[in-house]
């Protein structure tokens, strides 16, 4: 007699299996976010309290990392000059996927107090995809932490897809980069 209690498990298609694995991976990824801190501006001063005893980032499984290859999050804290944008793009492209970008402060959003400077770009998401912005000049530490928690929520909801956007709309991003920077990878005499 065939049991009625247990039905034969349905054979999952390859996409479904992949999706299942992806969800499992997402669980690990959101609980262990390693940051590469690109501290170009004043907002970086909010990170020490976030990392040390006051807010203790490590309890969320976050921590600083040394190189882009190891990191999951690229943290842009503060204004980005044209020169640093080149390096940020280079660094972003070196990171291993999936990768997320967090912009700290108002400068990456709209230029902040440097909106009229010839040396500082105004809108980071024109050049690389940004998953989370933390607004404020400068944002206080609670909002920084909140930004990270938001990113974790986004990963859970599968909306943190910046790196896929960068792959799919690569030409658009490259066009913007070219328009603002001329060329991303440049030669300079000190590194020849």
């Amino acid at each position: 007699m065939k049991s009625t209690k247990f039905t034969e498990p349905r054979k999952l298609s390859k996409e479904e299996v992949d999706r299942k694995w992806w969800e499992i991976g997402d669980f690990f990824r959101r609980n262990s976010l390693w940051m590469l801190m690109y501290c170009t501006g004043c907002c970086a001063i909010e990170l020490p309290p976030a990392m040390t005893a006051a807010y203790d980032m490590e309890r969320l499984g976050m921590g600083p990392m040394a190189t882009p290859r190891q990191a999951d999050i690229l943290l842009i804290s503060g204004y980005l000059s044209v020169k640093s944008l080149r390096r940020v793009i280079y660094t972003y492209e070196q990171m291993s996927e999936p990768k997320y970008v967090v912009g700290l402060g108002s400068c990456p959003i709209n230029g902040g107090i440097y909106h009229d400077s010839h040396a500082v770009i105004n809108q980071l998401d024109q050049y690389i995809p940004v998953d989370t912005y933390v607004a404020g000049c400068m944002p206080n530490t609670e909002s920084v932490m909140n930004g990270f928690v938001d990113l974790m929520e986004q990963i859970r909801n599968k909306t943190a897809k910046g790196w896929i956007k960068y792959q799919e709309n690569n030409e658009w991003y490259k066009k913007n980069q070219k328009a603002a920077l001329g060329e991303v990878i440049i030669h300079d005499e000190f590194h020849e």
């Binding site: 010839h118 040396a119 603002a180 001329g182 060329e183």
Partner: protein, 196 residues
Amino acid sequence: MMNSMSNVEFLKELMNRNFKVIETDVIDKYQVSFVLKQADILQALVTLRNAGWIQMSYLSAIDWPDESKIEMIYIFMNWERPVHVQIRSKIDRKDPVMPSIINIYPGAKYYERECHEFFGVKFPGNPDYEKQLILEMWDDIPPLRKDFDPQAYSDRKFTKREYKEDYLVLSDQNSKKEKREVRKERAESLKGGQKV
């Protein structure tokens, strides 16, 4: 001190004896400024260096578009006689050319390159004053000239975020009015850092 003359006196005497000083400005007993003719500059620097002003602290320029001049500024320091000396000279703005001083002060190499990038001053004598140093792939007039509009450049070059709606203006909120006025009162009671 070997002689009774003060350092500033010594410096003034030195400069006035050798060059035609257009203007002298003693800021305090550690800082003196001289305005010279462009032709005198190199000679003056050699004299100063021989007199002990061996450290070049600064080299830059100021743009004076109304007079159509660019003013070069050199600052030197003497460790025996602690006086900063500023040498200034105005040069033509249309075609700003200033002979390089790297033979007198080799450290001026990168200052001159920076000055060329930001003000467009040419430094014949410095072999690579035209190479890029700080601004990478710059494509406009030198950015620290007064007729350069950074806002326009930024608008042209970098996309701006466009806001579809106006965000809440906090000053219109009634609930916070009291607090705001208390803050304002307190702010007005303060008098520029000096005790009332």
